[in-house]
């Protein structure tokens, strides 16, 4: 009985110590990525390549998803608003829902599964095949040359993708609400213009998506860098990236929302 308890306690202790250890390693890793950023600024081409790799290649999924989310929002929003006789407020509903929440959050979740997983796999395989080690031995710092540009590429791409997602979503809402259902076009746009605030709504949405970009890209980079150098190790790391990023995005969204939109 006591032996079983002892074993159980030891296991819990191991798990806790491992988690703290990993958190420490992740913090140190994040610090190194940030501290070695000068190369990403000095050679913008490196960062631009990564914006293409993480951002531009995620465009299709972001555009299609944004459009469909907007279409659904338009349908559901109209159904609900009609009950209260305020179908003209559809533009406001669609825009606020997208700019404040759905744009940043859904595009971050898509970004984690499209670009985050690709980053983890790329770094994991570069590490497993000793490409990062080889770079170190060629006196090229992999943090400065590879990891930092990917980080900044992700941080810059994320708000742009969220903006595109929201824009396509609004267009989807317009298609359903105005073109198909027949809500008044003038009311749709003017209510939206009157009720969406540049600082309160749009800027806060951009800040959110930048924070998500930091979180998702750092998680993806760290999981890749920390992956055991085996096929299984890299595959688990990719899974962990998607799961951890998704949870981190949702948790951060709650925290940020509670700071940004209280009392509005």
């Amino acid at each position: 009985m006591i032996a079983a308890l002892d074993r159980g306690l030891r296991q819990v202790g191991h798990i806790v110590i491992d988690a703290i250890w990993k958190l420490g390693a992740a913090s140190r890793f994040s610090w190194l990525v940030l501290a070695r950023s000068s190369e990403s600024v000095r050679r913008p081409q490196l960062t631009l390549n990564e914006i293409f790799f993480t951002g531009a290649l995620s465009l299709i999924i972001i555009i299609v998803s944004g459009l469909f989310v907007g279409l659904v929002l338009g349908l559901q929003g109209y159904e609900t608003l009609k009950r209260y006789g305020s179908a003209e407020a559809l533009g406001t509903l669609v825009a606020l829902a997208l700019v404040r929440e759905l744009g940043p959050v859904v595009s971050a979740l898509l970004f984690a599964s499209r670009a985050g997983s690709a980053i983890t796999a790329k770094i994991g395989i570069m590490k497993a095949t000793e490409q990062l080690s080889a770079m170190e031995m060629m006196a090229v710092d992999p943090f400065a040359r590879v990891l930092s540009p990917i980080f900044w590429g992700g941080v810059i791409s994320m708000p742009l993708l969220a903006a595109i997602f929201s824009a396509l979503g609004v267009f989807g809402g317009y298609l359903i609400g105005v073109v198909i259902i027949g809500v008044d076009s003038g009311a749709f746009w003017s209510q939206m213009q009157a009720n969406v605030d540049l600082r309160e709504d749009i800027l806060n949405g951009i800040i959110k998506s930048a924070v998500f970009g930091v979180a998702v890209t750092l998680i993806a980079l760290f999981e890749g860098y920390d992956a055991p150098p085996t096929a299984e190790g890299v595959s688990y790391a990719v899974t962990r990236t998607v799961v951890t990023s998704a949870l981190a995005v949702l948790a951060l969204d709650f925290v940020l929302t509670s700071f940004m939109f209280t009392g509005v």
């Binding site: 395989i125 095949t129 000793e130 490409q131 080690s133 080889a134 031995m137 060629m138 006196a139 090229v140």
Partner: protein, 298 residues
């Protein structure tokens, strides 16, 4: 043994030390005729000792092999010399500088003068053969692109793969990938070239080609080479000196000829490939009869 006399064009040791000082690097009390010196080096992984009491002196211009069984700590020695791992005890000097005393910037400055060939080449899979070899040149020099092109083609020509410049790494055989990696390792004309298991998994022709290249490039570049390997036949043909590592300690050292004649049991077993000896055929196990359940019946 091939020609290993220092060529006249090779910089003298004193010039090397002066050039280190010129580059603003910290000199230390390491003897001038040795490029690499390890003194009482100890390395532990977690609490498990990997290397203990390692002493080595690798003379300038020499090709030296570090041999031993898989897992005996050979590759760790290379990583310690390259500063990718740091020792728990002892000192490692490369070209008059103590590795553990260098700052990040100084270590990277020293690494510019080292080349390392990884076991499977470690080529950048996104880049073509040409771009792989051009990588260190583009990162560390401001040479115009036409000049880089000429240099890359010269390096590729030295390993016989000028014609493969446009191929991607996945289109290369194991031996070719290693030759490209070798061209990349010598791109900046290093003073020290380290080879991690350069012969593993290669056919006999590729093995011979790589072995030949190691010796020729070492002498042509006036470099010093360290080869980590367990291939006795090929390496004994090209090296000047050999260290045998077993279970983290150096058990024997000498020239290939003296080691071939050695009666030291481990060296004899290793050089002649005997199946049993100080390195047992059987992994430690309980008594055979007990494992088969025969002792109960007896």
């Amino acid at each position: 043994m091939q020609a290993n006399a220092p060529s006249s064009s090779r910089p003298s040791p004193s010039n090397r030390v002066q050039s280190a000082a010129f580059l603003g690097l910290k000199p230390c009390a390491v003897s001038a005729e040795n490029l690499v010196e390890l003194r009482d080096v100890e390395f532990r992984y977690d609490e498990r000792p990997v290397l203990t009491g390692i002493n080595m002196a690798i003379g300038r211009g020499k090709v030296v092999a570090i041999m031993g069984l898989s897992g005996s700590g050979k590759t760790t020695i290379l990583r310690l010399i390259g500063g990718q791992l740091s020792s728990n005890k002892g000192s490692i000097g490369v070209d008059g500088q103590l590795i553990h005393a260098l700052s990040h910037r100084e270590l990277y400055a020293l690494r510019r003068r080292m080349g390392m060939l990884f076991q499977f080449g470690a080529l950048f899979t996104d880049y073509s053969v040409f771009d792989n070899v051009a990588f260190p040149l583009r990162e560390h020099t401001r040479l115009p692109e036409p000049l880089i092109r000429d240099l890359v083609l010269m390096k590729l020509n030295a390993v016989g793969l000028r014609g493969a410049a446009d191929l991607k790494p996945e289109a290369l055989s194991g031996g070719m990938a290693r030759r490209v990696a070798l061209a990349r390792a010598i791109a900046l004309d290093p003073m020290l070239i380290m080879y991690d298991e350069p012969f593993t998994g290669l056919d006999p022709i590729s093995t011979g080609v790589i072995a030949n290249l190691i010796r020729r490039l070492n002498d042509a570049l006036g470099a010093t080479s360290i080869i980590v390997t367990h291939d006795v036949e090929e390496s004994f043909k090209i090296v000047d000196y050999v260290y045998f590592v077993s279970a983290g300690v150096i058990v024997a050292e000498g020239t290939p000829a003296s080691l071939r004649a050695s009666n030291e049991p481990f060296v004899h077993q290793f050089v002649h490939g005997d199946t049993d000896g100080p390195v047992p055929f059987h992994y430690p196990a309980p008594a055979y009869a007990r494992d088969l359940g025969l002792e109960h019946h007896a």
